[in-house]
């Protein structure tokens, strides 16, 4: 026995240890055989439809219980399609010219789904997939194949499959499923999304040949955080993962207790502590660590994973998933923030001497309005019933912000005209990450609903230093008095105009900076999820008065080194 490790794309967190169950869905090939009489074939079709109705009803009930009515509604719609007279009519027409029920059904489903596929409105066109799914279900029953081979799982197992359809994922028995691993799929595939909603560890994209390397019953360890799958683990490996799993579970439990509480300073001022996330699967992690919202959702991951920009539907589903995981807490979605340092292949990037001073972020969005509008449409649609905000990166000028807001309004008008449901009242704000924006907060406040300080870029642009250049990176000092003055000015000017000011840069999660920022009156601290518990704890220990004193002292120093030394002393006494 030799232990062997394979690696895929981690899409849903968690560790599972158990036997593999190889899931190979039956191929639905139609046997060549003579058709019965019209009545016989129609009777077979009717019986199959009846069976399908029962299956769909139990799927509907199961998903309603485990996820939500919204997730389950799809199976209700499938039931309606099952009894569609147009479907019945087409099948009958086929049977009457001598086809078997199977042949007639395949043809009917193809014709009906083709009618929908060609429609201009994406919402209507997407229903073609449902027609096909219903057709496959009835066909499978006609061929007398079981619902899915998944129903033959008898002991808790890790499911290994080529790919998982929504119906497959939905029909997993939570008591018997430890996790799943597939050869196909990506972070944003439907099954990955559902795995996260159900809290199942999942790894996808293992590549072809997965099912040849694994057989049912083979012991496996899977790590949904790293994407590692260990075949035939030895006792030592199993013991190690059991320990990690136990630690993780007790850690999550203690975090959960702390996470339920809202953050207040010790004199009772409410302060939001939120998370910065850059992919869909971190939303759950953020919640587990007690995030009271998402202060920064980076959307670049959607744009850099493919050779073409993400479709509106794909973005809609990912945003919706994140909003749902955050269940009513605020989520600030930052629009596309890329530049020449990491160019996607589908944008015409010029050769730039200084990509960080070049064509990037909002500048690209304004020059590529279609790309920008697609993202705005997806956000506005997904925001229905949720607490979302839109934030533009790297604004340095009032006119830029006005133009961007005009595009938001144009997108809303288009959605209205197309009768597409969207949230009309989503606040729109900016990141303050250029010294220009920090100096202009009072002016920008006329068209910005809120501000969020991005300290990494603000430090880089204020200090004129590239943090990636080892020769000068020592000057990258977010606690530098010059940066702190801009931060204080931003908060004061924002508050003077009655605006909310948060921070989503790394500084917001640093204990040595939190007392100063609290003293400045910052409304929200958004950080890496793992830094949240400690930040909440620290804020709870301070009064606003105490924080103001600390901030005042800190601002009396002339260098970052002096401020750091002072803050070390402050923290030691807290």
């Amino acid at each position: 026995m030799m232990e062997k490790t394979l690696k895929g794309i981690p899409v849903s967190d968690g560790i599972a240890i158990g036997p593999a169950f190889c899931y190979i869905p039956a191929e639905l090939t139609i046997p060549v055989c003579a058709a019965g009489t019209v009545d016989e074939e129609m009777a077979r079709f009717d019986t199959a439809r009846e069976r399908a109705r029962i299956e769909l009803q139990s799927l509907f009930e199961a998903i309603e219980k485990r996820a939500s009515k919204e997730e389950a509604a799809i199976f209700e719609a499938h039931q309606e399609m099952l009894s569609d007279p147009a479907l019945e009519g087409k099948v009958r027409a086929g049977v009457e010219i001598g086809q078997t029920a199977e042949q007639a059904l395949v043809k009917a489903i193809e014709e009906l789904s083709d009618l929908l596929v060609g429609m201009d409105n994406e919402l209507f066109a997407a229903r073609a997939l449902d027609v096909k799914d219903v057709g496959r279900r009835v066909l499978r029953i006609l061929l007398r194949l079981p619902d899915t081979a998944l129903s033959t799982v008898t002991e808790p197992s890790i499911i290994i499959a080529e790919d998982m359809s929504p119906s497959d994922t939905a029909s997993l028995d939570p008591k018997l499923t430890l996790g799943f691993i597939t050869s196909q799929g990506g972070l944003t595939s439907h099954s990955a999304i559902l795995a996260r909603t159900l809290g199942l560890p999942a790894i996808v994209g293992m590549g072809n040949g997965l099912l040849e390397k694994v057989s049912s019953g083979l012991p496996i360890v899977m790590d949904g955080r790293t994407g590692e799958m260990i075949l035939e683990p030895d006792d030592e490996t199993i013991a190690r993962y059991k320990q990690i799993k136990a630690q993780r579970e007790s850690h999550l439990l203690s975090l959960k207790t702390a996470a339920k509480k809202e953050t207040h300073t010790s004199n009772g001022r409410r302060v939001e502590v939120a998370a910065n996330i850059g992919e869909a699967l971190s939303a759950r992690e953020a919640m587990e660590h007690g995030a009271e919202g998402i202060g920064l959702l980076r959307t670049e991951f959607l744009y850099l994973e493919d050779t073409q920009p993400p479709s509106e539907e794909k973005q809609y589903h990912i945003y919706r998933e994140i909003f749902e995981v955050m269940s009513g807490r605020p989520v600030i979605v930052r629009t596309l923030d890329i530049g020449g340092d990491k160019p996607p292949s589908y944008l015409p990037f010029p050769d730039e001497m200084n990509p960080f001073l070049g064509w990037r972020a909002i500048r690209i969005s304004l020059d590529e309005p279609e790309l920008f509008k697609t993202q705005l449409r997806a956000i506005l649609r997904a925001a229905v019933g949720h607490h979302a905000r839109i934030m533009f990166p790297m604004v340095s000028d009032l006119d830029e912000l006005r133009r961007a807001r005009e595009i938001v309004e144009a997108v809303k008008r288009d959605l209205e005209l197309a009768s597409v449901e969207f949230a009309a009242d989503v606040p729109v704000g900016i990141m303050v990450e250029t010294p220009a924006a920090a100096m202009l907060v009072d002016v920008l406040a006329e068209v910005s609903d809120f501000f969020s300080l991005g300290t990494n870029d603000l430090t880089q642009y204020t200090m004129a230093v590239d943090r990636g250049n080892a020769k000068v990176s020592g000057l990258f000092q977010p606690l530098h008095p010059a940066v702190l003055r801009l931060i204080r000015q931003t908060i004061d000017a924002g508050h003077a105009k009655g605006k909310w000011v948060g921070m989503c840069g790394e500084l917001a999660g640093m204990t040595k900076a939190i007392p100063i920022l609290l003293g400045f009156g910052l409304d929200e601290f958004s950080m890496n999820p793992r830094a949240i518990p400690e930040a909440k704890n620290l804020i709870g220990k301070l009064t606003d008065e105490k924080a103001r004193d600390i901030a005042g002292q800190a601002m009396s120093f002339g260098t970052a080194a002096e401020i750091e030394t002072y803050m070390k002393g402050v923290l030691a006494l807290l």
Binding site: A77, E80, M81, D84, P85, A86, L87, L112, L115, L116, M119, D120, N121, L123, F124, R127, V131, A418, S419, V420, E421
Partner: protein, 91 residues
């Protein structure tokens, strides 16, 4: 035979829940019921078929023509008209 032209005013048009309600209501009657989207090009389709109703692509502010034919033609037309006029009872 009875017929009427009505403007659809609800937010999503004849899609999702409203489309299902429309088809379910049509199926309560014996009459043959057909519907056509006057705002877009296309034919009259069977109002009792969810798939065919979806193919009409009826969105907010589109006008539809409904034709009913049979012993309960008037009742069916009234029921479908009031369903649309009341915006499928959505708030």
């Amino acid at each position: 035979m009875a017929e009427a032209t009505i403007q659809v005013k609800n937010k999503v048009g004849l899609h999702a829940r409203p489309a299902a309600l429309f088809v379910q209501t049509a199926n309560k009657f014996q009459s043959k019921i057909k519907v056509k989207n006057l705002t877009a090009t296309g034919d009259l389709v069977d109002a009792k078929s969810i798939i065919m109703v979806l193919t009409l692509g009826v969105m907010k502010d589109h006008e539809v023509l409904i034709q009913t034919d049979g012993i309960d033609a008037d009742l069916a037309l009234d029921a479908l008209k009031s369903l649309i006029e009341n915006n499928f009872s959505e708030a």
